[in-house]
Symmetry: C2
Subunit: 325 residues, 2 copies
């Protein structure tokens, strides 16, 4: 089968299509004829050789496609349209997936849309509800509102809670889009001090939950923005990983809960439970048109390198998809 | 009545006994004839004028004594021996306490022992179970094992879980004492690298829960010591508050939950619920002799300044008590 592999750890030019052996499903797994895969930042980190948790030379942690074979104890009929997280190997014509992580694609969604769902919606769901414990009448601050996880988080917070949603983005276009998805307050971080705006929007109480993809460069302002007893979930370090001069006393005085997380390296069991919870509470809302898969652009398999470059330029609103056939 | 008040923000010499007006219980409160109060680090911070949450010129956040008057809706009979947290005003002959925070003193305990219980045992209970979510077969690392909260945490972890208990202290005497309370592994932080010892004692898995009173100076080693998905509860900054060069990526990769907390500034409702939970699960173990109130030394009211100095010298094992009559 054809697959996109990494020549040597490095830039996007290291990605190329190669013929490799087709995988076979083991016990509890299904083999999927992959129609679409989506690009994630974790793929870029893996491509650069900076993370140790993906041994698979084929990148890609989420796919949508059709089940073509089911291993022992994997009770999904051949022909079922599914989407979900894979343990690497997603940028390929065929990939194996633990059956308990496969979600049936809602009828009204295309494969391009389906591949845009698992990673960002599961991450946003985990961050808002499992880690952030967002409850009613609270306020959530979602950074990078135009990103894949950002657009998913805004929609989930809107549909599943009555929380006040504050989001940051770097352009009016992105902020308008965030409003259309349900954000109450949009802050242009290039022109406004987001900490001041968050305090204004919350009568100085601050945000109860922060989704932080940015890390170091936002540290001080996030600390100002967070409410007493706030949950600060760190899921990315786009603004750098190294913070100087952290005042622990401020973390204590505000009783901050800082929770670092990454979805990809989590256990199979965790992903199974998260998928199950999400499929129960959120998946039906796609069929009803209340949640939308947001596709920025679709690339053919041969142009996966360009798809990576597009993400690295931070120009996308929503997900970048690669078609595998 | 006589009370210990702070002249001006500053050192222990600012404490002196003065005649002040006796408080009266409001709705939901009881008036207590205070027999004993205990010294806490939060008192020292208040004495220095460094914290803004205590307006009461009389220090002291925990007392033991006898109920002498009950306000409206405070259903505790006059004469009952009680102990618990007060909102300041503890270093005095009389103090008011919300009735829903008063715990009946177990018969076999003296007032000296009773005053040694509320703050440290409630803090340790909150840290281990409400914030640390310590569960069976896990490992807990308790720093400052000889301190008030340390000795309480070791005992609670021993009596209420089967967790492996690792503790650090600065002398053989303190470590021996920690072992006698139930610690499995003792590390002399002056002679050993505690992170290495924790990894040795856990087959490199690390500690699932860390009780951190130290802050900045232990940051790097705590990060090395903590397990994946570990809960790191920050309840003090004896080793400094300012950390340089924090690597957020390590917090994410280990999926650390860092939780800052302080008990004193929490709401009345929080203290009520915590007291209730503790009284149900832990208090009966004092009557049975399975939990011990640990008293280091008892000072007369006039020597409260010396009691503060004794704490500031870090020489105590267990609590420092002041007799109010």
């Amino acid at each position: 089968m054809k697959a996109v592999v990494v020549n040597q750890p490095g830039g996007a030019d290291q990605l190329h299509v190669q013929n490799v052996e087709k995988p076979s499903p083991e016990k509890g797994e299904v083999l999927i004829n992959v129609k679409t895969a989506a690009i994630n930042r974790t793929d870029i980190i893996s491509r650069e050789g900076k993370s140790g948790y993906m041994n698979n030379p084929i990148l890609g942690v989420e796919v949508a496609g059709e089940v073509v074979e089911a291993g022992e104890e994997a009770n999904i009929p051949v022909g079922t349209r599914v989407m979900g997280l894979v343990n690497g190997g997603g940028y390929a014509e065929y990939a194996v997936m633990p059956a308990d992580r496969a979600m049936v694609v809602p009828d009204k969604l295309s494969f391009e849309e389906a591949a845009a769902i698992p990673e960002v919606f599961l991450t946003a769901y985990q961050t808002l509800f499992w880690l952030g414990n967002l409850t009613k009448n609270e306020t959530v601050l979602i950074h990078a509102g135009g990103s894949g996880v950002g657009t998913a988080a805004i929609q989930l917070a809107r549909q599943l809670t009555n929380a006040k949603i504050i989001t940051t983005a770097g352009s009016l276009e992105k902020l308008d889009y965030c409003h259309s998805l349900g954000a109450d307050v949009g802050i242009n971080y290039k022109e406004q001090d987001f900490a001041e705006e968050v305090l204004k929007a919350t009568d100085n109480a601050g945000a109860d939950v922060i989704l932080d993809f940015i890390g170091a460069s936002y540290w001080e302002k996030n600390l100002k923005s967070i409410a007493v007893d706030g949950r600060w979930v760190l899921i990315g370090v786009l603004g750098g990983s190294k913070v100087n001069d952290i005042e622990l006393m401020s973390l204590m005085a505000k009783r901050v809960h800082l929770k670092g997380t990454l979805l990809t390296p989590r256990s199979d069991d965790y992903k199974k439970e998260l998928t199950k919870d999400f499929a129960k509470h959120a998946l039906p809302l796609f069929e009803k048109g209340k949640l939308k898969a947001i596709v920025d652009r679709v690339f053919p398999m041969e142009e996966t390198g360009d798809a990576h470059r597009h993400m690295e330029a931070n120009k996308n609103i929503g997900k970048i998809i690669v078609e595998m056939e």
